[in-house]
Amino acid sequence: MKRFLLPLLVAFAASPAWAGIPAESEDCLGCHSDPDQTYDLPSGEKLSLYVNQEAFAKSVHGEMLRCTECHTDKTSDHATGELKFKTRREVTRAYYEQCKGCHFANYTKTLDGVHFAVMAKGNDKAALCVDCHGAHDISRPGQPRARISQMCSGCHGKEAAIYARSVHGRLAGSSSDVPVCTDCHRAHDTTDPRDGALAARTPEICGRCHTDEKLMKRYGLSTKVVDTYLADFHGMAASLQQGKKKGPGVRLAAVCTDCHGVHDIEKSDSPNSSVMAANLQKTCAKCHEGASESFPKAWLSHYEPTPEKAPIVWAVQLFYKLMIPFMVGGLVLQIALHLWRVVVNR
């Protein structure tokens, strides 16, 4: 026990918090502590050479990393040298590569992500590690959770604003029950939403929360939404379309987001909800051109067919539940008797 207490006591005694961090051991901060020190890049941009020691000390790396562990090419005499970078973005892109030295698993995941894919196609602005996590001021991700969505809003402002007004976004500041961007889109292997692959996964993504009994009870929501969806026409078609991508002439079956919306999801009883009874005809008509007023009744609204909710469907189901075993059983019995007599006659 004493072995653990001692460093803890030392840590408390050492005040201010940044005193004695490893980064100090290399004398880098001797030059890089001037907030006004900049370098003029060929692009005309000014590259700040300032490192906020306090912020770095508080960061997750403050107590473990020395400067040269990320800035591996820097030696004590680099002050006179020319930088090989032409733009600020080039600087960022060069140093983000260092993250993989330790965070290899997450780095590898990003190679499957949409940000990496668009970067490979030449989009300079595609998010890199440091764009989301920060550089010298990296803190634990998701603390607080709402910060994640704020981070994404830096580039995806339009989507973030729509999300912030939705049933999920409105609660994101005060509750960890609701999803933030990365819960659906993932953090490192962020899926490209444009080819339909992400949409195809929504029954599973939405289902993670919407089949959770404890969580849904808190809001009085049904946990049967995924099962009832899968049991119906759309769910069946979507299941058989797995792995198929959207494209010319390919229309994928409706998934959660096609009816409920994506970033603008609302409570189903809200007047603005696309699945509110009064709005449903219009929502169906998005795919089912000319849908009449009675057309939405063809969908059982995520209810299982019961005598109360859908008596006709329930009755037909019950009829066949009895009829099929009766019919098949009767025929098998007659065949068995027939063969029995054949054997007896021999």
Binding site: L230, D232, F233, M236, A237, S239, L240, Q241, K244, V250, H288, E289, G290, A291, S292, S294, F295, P296, K297, A298, W299, L300, P305, A310, I312, V313, A315, V316, Q317, Y320, M323, I324, M327, V328, L331, V332, Q334, I335, L337, H338, L339, W340, R341, V342, V344, N345
Partner: protein, 247 residues
Amino acid sequence: MSNYIVRFSLKQRIEHFVTMTTFAALCLTGLPQKFYTTGWAHTFVDLFGGIDNTRWIHRFFGVVLALSTIVHFASGIAAILSRKIGFSMVPTKRDFEDAIQQLRYYLGMTDQHPQYDRFTYKEKFEYWGLVAGNVIMVVTGFMLFFPVKAATLIPGQIIPAAKVAHSNEGLMAFFVITVWHIFNAHLNPDVFPFDASIFTGKVSRERYVHEHPLELARLEGGLPPDAHGHAGHGDAPPGHGGKRVVG
């Protein structure tokens, strides 16, 4: 005396062939949609080039089945009206008596096998089951093919009910064919391994004596062994010692 009887006309043989092929195609493209969570369903759907293709194939054969059903009804009604055919397919009280007698025979409660006319109760049962099934499948199938149009004509809730009926009726038909029809046309010791009569139209006279003695007697101008009751059923055709080997 000819040694075979022409039991099925060319039209009937063509109708059977169309029904057989469309039924097989509809099962192959339909059942994977019902059991879409299973691995084999995905294998079949991939084989047909995806779910959209599978559905178009299914709809194509569905339309063929619908047309063949309509043609069958129309020609049947026309033939009855012009008195070319009788009501030999209509179930009668006699069929129920035959069924009971047949079961008593199977159970060993009697040695008298029922004497059948042109169609046995088993054939009538399968025929009317197929007719009723076809009507249900065609009507519900078109509702699912054109749900938007259907919803303008009928209450919306009928459409999911139609889906339940279509998928269950289809499964039941599949079972009836694979169990009952395959037994009667292939595995039944009387015809094993293959009763070809629905393809050739012909049945040997020897078999006809066993299976449709009343019709045979009428065709050949003689009197049926017993036209009115079952009392004489024990007097089976010569050479069978009063006891039939199989039904």
